[in-house]
């Protein structure tokens, strides 16, 4: 009875124990970093000798950190908007279009997700050096949109595949224009897909390190580049404070996602 939860006996206990261990392993670094950010030891002693907020003070006192965070937010927001719009248009064509080579085109658009980022990073770095787009916001947004597009297409296309097109057709029969039917019937129905696409695209840019390391210039640094630079020089607790804020952001995103999904179900 290996797939019968109530009749597995000792095996269930063993597997549950193992699952708990793995969950603990997955949680460990996240919890650890948050605790560490409040610890008073500069040398990251743990458990800390005392508790303090001074790393957060140091973090906010350094304009470079805030600057990097704002740069990241700006680039990630533009990337999310661009990749959702482009992804939405592409998804309609991929899901509903009837043309030869559709699967190949779908594969091509999803390739940036599978190609090792380092290969794309040096390719786009070289390309942008020639075009003069290296180290510019627009260059960042273009490169990140290439990487984020698969993460926009996948949830939108999946949502669209699950949407019954006859509802849209019914609206047209009832006198709506095709565009109106799409904007007022179809888009609201697949809004969870669109919302996931926006979150995933945002995160794809916000967390992106490799392209950013190559593209960054002294005057334009994203948050991951700033963290990367600090990590290479020392393991200062200020990084723990910055990291904890990022964990907080992740939690906030998870809560929003869960709430939205619940709202759709009811």
């Amino acid at each position: 009875m290996l797939l019968d939860y109530d009749r597995m006996g000792w095996l269930k206990i063993a597997l549950l124990g193992f699952t708990a261990l793995v969950a603990g392993f997955l949680l460990l670094p996240v919890v650890f970093i948050v605790l560490l950010s409040f610890g008073s030891s500069r040398w990251l002693a743990f458990p800390p000798p005392g508790w303090t907020l001074k790393w957060y003070h140091e973090l906010f006192a350094d304009p470079a950190w805030l600057d990097a965070a704002l740069t990241s937010a700006r680039i990630a927001t533009m990337t999310a908007i661009l990749s959702v719009v482009i992804g939405l248009l592409a998804s309609f064509a991929l899901v509903r279009g009837q043309f030869a080579g559709r699967e190949i085109l779908r594969g091509l658009l999803l390739t940036p997700m599978v190609l090792p980022v380092v290969v794309f990073a040096i390719a786009i770095y070289a390309f942008f050096l020639r075009l003069g787009l290296g180290g510019t916001t627009i260059g960042f947004v273009i490169a990140h949109t290439v990487l984020a597009l698969p993460f926009a297409i996948i949830p939108i296309a999946t949502a669209l595949e699950g949407f019954d097109k006859s509802i849209e057709d019914a609206a047209i029969v009832c006198g709506a224009s095709p565009l109106e039917a799409r904007l007022r019937i179809t888009l609201p129905s697949i809004r969870i897909g669109i919302f996931s696409a926006a979150i995933f695209s945002f995160l794809a840019s916000w967390d992106e390190v490799v392209v950013a390391i190559f593209m960054a210039s002294p005057s334009l640094q994203t948050l991951p580049v700033k963290i990367w630079g600090s990590l290479r020089s020392d393991l200062s607790p200020v990084i723990a404070a910055a990291s904890s804020l990022l964990v907080g952001l992740t939690l906030a995103l998870m809560v929003v996602t869960a709430l939205l999904q619940r709202k759709v179900k009811t």
Partner: protein, 273 residues
């Protein structure tokens, strides 16, 4: 919003202009710099130092894949049949770990694994070891860090595979007198193998080209391919050699990706990722 092919136009322009063209230009560079010919590839494939990097990369990717599969399978198994309230807690932990900034997680492991880190101190305080274990700047550190990052990518699709198995098949096996071990080996394992293979291949491909974690948790003596490529371009400015190494990585990755598509079909990947 146009329904036909023109909807694809913006996406195609973006991908062709800023993905296909730059990658092809890179390929061109690998056979033209410093002079036309295949000398960059000959240098990479003929030299012992580079051979070690290739070997290291495949070794780490293999070990990470095997460990990830072994750890992920029991967890996915439980998640597939657990009461949903309990399962959603575990899913929450997995999503939290997966969505947390990559550098944040790697930083945490750097601190945890260092010589004077929590893990070494705990083990020494418990009297299990009397010298700190070398857990960082070597393959141990890379493996721990990479398994940590890959686990969600293995667990989540595997839950789907295991949920799709009809529990009746196992009940039938039990009725016919199969022991739990026999039922596992001859029913559950073969039926979940496609999911294990697809997930394992994905983890392997992702590990091959991984840059951040090996660069931060690994040592200088056992560099991996992605880090070597970055170094060739960034520090040595050797574009010919770097592009050639990047292209080798690209070919291997794409070949394995094609294999994975044959295993599970393009739709399953794009729909389930």
């Amino acid at each position: 919003m146009p329904a036909g092919l023109n909807g694809l136009l913006p996406a195609l322009v973006l991908i062709v202009l800023f993905f296909v063209v730059p990658v092809l230009a890179l390929l061109l560079r690998s056979v033209t710099e410093p002079e036309p010919g295949l000398q960059n590839y000959a240098a990479l494939l003929g030299d012992g130092t580079y051979a070690r990097v290739f070997f290291n990369t495949f070794l780490v990717a293999s070990v990470v894949t095997i460990v990830t599969v072994l750890v992920a399978f029991p967890v996915a198994w439980m998640l597939a049949i657990m009461p949903s309230a309990l399962a959603s807690i575990v899913f929450g932990v997995i999503i939290l770990s997966m969505w947390t900034n990559l550098l944040t997680r790697t930083y945490a492991w750097m601190v945890l694994l260092q010589r004077t880190g929590v893990i070494n101190r705990t083990l020494m305080a418990a009297g299990i070891i009397d010298q700190p274990l070398p857990l960082i700047n070597n393959l141990t550190g890379v493996t721990i860090g990479m398994v940590y990052i890959m686990l969600p990518f293995m667990i989540l699709p595997l839950v789907g595979t295991l949920r799709a198995i009809d529990p009746m098949t196992l009940r039938a096996a039990a009725l016919c007198g199969a022991s739990p071990f026999q039922a596992f080996r001859r029913i559950l394992l073969p039926l979940s193998l496609p999911g294990v293979a697809a997930g394992g291949l994905m983890v392997f491909v992702m590990s091959l080209g991984y840059f951040v974690t090996p660069a931060l948790l690994g040592g200088t003596s056992n560099m991996m391919l992605a880090e070597m490529i970055a170094q060739m371009i960034q520090s040595l400015l050797n574009w010919g050699l770097g592009s050639a190494a990047a292209f080798i990585l690209l070919v291997v990755t794409m070949a394995l990706y094609a294999l994975q598509l044959r295993l599970v079909g393009a739709r399953r990947i794009s729909g389930g990722a």
